[in-house]
Amino acid sequence: MRSLSRSRLLWGAILLCAAAAALLPWWLSAYILGILTVAYYFGVFAMAWDLLFGFAGEVNFGPTFLIGLGAYGAAILDANFGQPIVVCVIAGALVALVGGLLLVLPALRLRGPYFGLVTLVAVLLLQNFIVIFAHITGGEIGMTVPDVLSADANANYWYALAFLFVCTVILFGLSRSAVGLILQASGQDAIAAQALGFNVTKHKVAAFCVSAVFSGMAGAMLVFYEGAASVDTVISLSIAVQVIIAAVLGGRRTIIGAVLGSIFLILANEFLRPLGQLNTFVVAAGALAVILFFPDGFLGYALRGRQRE
């Protein structure tokens, strides 16, 4: 019963936060809304990563492989074939899904750090691929897309918020469902989970698919917000590291924590910009300190506090 009430509490908090966030455009400048818009897409990246790492226990050091596939898949379709944005986003998600299924093969053969290495290499390969096929992808400079979601900062903000909200409801709901429980068990002790009659492979493949689809969709949405896709914004390893830090900061295995971590990280990055080169250093050092002293992240720590009562 207590766990049920805790679940209700979190759902309530999600609704309340979403409602409050929807009102922000009347308060905040277009500049800050723009930052939050990016933060919300990042939130989806981090949630999708948390589902794969936190729940399924798959060490994915290259979340931008899936994100980048979605982003470039959508961008290429839009730029070359002029399809509507909805079609492009769905196509991007499908491309990412294929990428996710490709990752399943090494994931089933390799353990922990070795699979992590494969995911890193996947990002580098994708990056090289984009540079080599510059005539389609725009190479290192990136490519612009003819369509954008909106030119209005408020509208863009609401698009991002609505997208984040829907993704949160689905992913958080999934994590709290019976399937989420089985997935957690598979991630933590695969043999024990199998011995309880669960087909761990099936559940892990499903987790890869879900994570890939959401990563790809969010990547595609980000492209149509920014009006461009480039290696620096959706593929580079520094973005990958930021996604991971955001999820860990917020609290692994919490899904919602990933959103909090993303918003915090993106805002911190922006507000510390006056520090110039020191900016990244301060943010990274801060993140490191949080991870060292609160390895469960913000939300993990808060939830643990309730547990101890």
Partner: protein, 484 residues
């Protein structure tokens, strides 16, 4: 047999590379029967359990369960066929409550059933109450004592309603009272006409519970029968104790006025929540050879780890008059207390000479002396440690420990997995050490026949407690029968 066999294992064989871990093992377990599968470390008993559960795939053999050969199936299919397992160590879901952990076991293996069936909750509560977890349903596993975590594992196994339950070391780390409660639970399985396979180190632990015992050693079947028959089986006694106690040559114990070198006062060690050592009182005098005998899992290695500063402990350990609390393992070793661990810990890709050179200062002289002690190492000096035989590795490990010129040498299970001829060589080397050096020796052994001739005094360790202590002469009379 009157009842038809529930599970029939025939010709089960598993090889890991060149090592035959399980060789042609076969047995039946009937419904409502509890069978004990026993054997020392490395005997292959755990592998047999894993083969049945599908965690490892057998190289040969059949496992007929419910009329179907399930050998080689993946574990989740075997689980669904009706076999459940209680792991000794498993990682529960720490973010979830006890009740949710049990509910997990009741969920269908489906990607689409997002909401669990309404009866899952009531069934989970009923199971929790049955295993005695009714009061802690909403606690998290991290806040529970070890025995309760084991109960939770038991609950998860029951939840699948298995026809055959495999239980790995059912009583490890439990107190006497908890053992009684668990025995009752396991008897409950029998009463419900389930078949039960208990895997344990020794017969004694499971004797009161089992209908039948199957003993293994080095992957082979040794014998099968009632607990009493197996305990008195010639081969079983040799495997566990090394042979007949009466044949031991006894030596007079030396006068005990030498100063105390090592003193343990009420030493206790906890592994997580499992009590590995309890109130150990132990004393070793200068120049003494003391043996600590006990079966696998009795706590010998833990005791040595505590003395070497490798695990945290309660109580006090004094070496040469100094309290070791707070001293690092490195400092303790340099202070003259050197351990030669059960796992040997050699540097596999270094030669014999290089391994020894890691030992200490006065190399040349020490080296010559060691080659005299273990002549075989002379011939092997340029060879990689990894390529040595088990016995040679053991000698190298002891030699390396001796390079550090210890005052007190700890040998943990030096005979583990070694052939009799090697045991004899080791025996001779130990005897030479005693005669030619002032060294003090603390020897941990399961093989009593090896341990007794090298002991001025003997301690028997059982379930983390000192069960007996005295001279080697009294051991055979007072402990011999009860040891197994």
């Amino acid at each position: 047999m009157t009842t038809p066999a529930r599970i029939e294992v025939r010709g089960l064989t598993k090889r890991f590379g060149g090592l035959v871990a399980v060789n042609d093992i076969g047995f039946d377990i009937a419904a409502g029967e509890i069978m004990g599968l026993i054997g020392p470390n490395g005997s292959g008993k755990s592998t047999v359990m894993k083969l049945i559960m599908g965690i490892e795939r057998p190289n040969a053999g059949t496992v007929i369960f419910g009329g179907v050969d399930i050998a080689g199936w993946p574990p989740h299919r075997i689980a669904r066929a009706g076999i459940g397992i209680v792991f000794q160590h498993s990682r529960p879901l720490h973010r979830q409550t006890v009740l949710e952990n049990i509910k997990l076991a009741l969920l269908p293996d489906s990607l689409l059933r997002l909401v669990s069936a309404p009866d899952v909750e009531t069934r989970a509560i009923a199971i929790a109450e049955r295993v005695g977890l009714g009061d802690v349903l909403h606690r998290h596993p991290g806040t529970l004592p070890f025995a309760s975590l084991r109960r939770m594992e038991m609950a998860k196994a029951i939840a699948r309603d298995p026809k055959l339950v495999l239980i790995d070391e059912p009583f490890a780390g439990l107190t006497a009272g908890e053992v009684a409660a668990f025995s009752e639970l396991i008897r409950g399985f029998r009463a419900e006409n389930r078949a039960v396979l208990l895997v344990d180190h020794n017969v004694k632990g499971v004797a009161a519970l089992v209908d039948r015992v199957f003993a293994m050693y080095l992957g082979e079947r040794v014998t099968e029968g009632t607990a009493d028959e197996v305990m008195h089986n010639e081969t079983v006694r040799r495997v566990y104790m090394g042979g007949d106690l009466a044949a031991i040559a006894r030596r007079p114990a030396p006068a005990s006025e030498k100063p105390t070198l090592l003193q343990l006062d009420r030493v206790g060690v906890l592994y997580g929540k499992a009590r590995a050592l309890d109130e150990i009182e132990l004393q070793v005098r200068e120049g003494e050879f003391v043996s600590i005998v006990g079966l696998n899992g009795a706590g010998k290695t833990t005791l040595f780890s505590a003395v070497s500063g490798l695990v945290p402990y309660s109580g006090a350990i004094r070496f040469a008059g100094r309290d070791l609390k707070g001293t690092t393992a490195g400092t303790i070793a340099r202070g003259g207390l050197v351990q030669c661990p059960e796992t040997r810990e050699l540097f596999g890709d270094m030669s014999v000479r290089e391994n020894l050179d890691l030992g200490a200062a006065d190399r040349a002289a020490q080296f010559a002396w060691l080659l005299e002690l273990f002549p075989i190492l002379e011939a092997r000096r340029a060879q990689m440690a990894r390529t040595l035989s088990g016995g040679e590795q053991q000698m190298l490990a002891i030699a390396r420990a001796l390079m550090m010129k210890p005052r007190l040498l700890i040998l943990d299970e030096p005979t583990l997995g070694l052939a009799p001829v090697i045991l004899e060589q080791l025996s001779k080397a130990l005897e030479r050490l005693r005669q030619t050096t002032p060294i003090t020796l603390l020897l941990g052994e399961q093989n009593v026949t090896f341990a007794l001739p090298h002991a001025d005094r003997v301690y028997v360790l059982e379930h983390g407690r000192i069960a007996w202590s005295g001279g080697p002469a009294q051991f055979a009379e007072e402990m011999g029968a009860e040891y197994l």
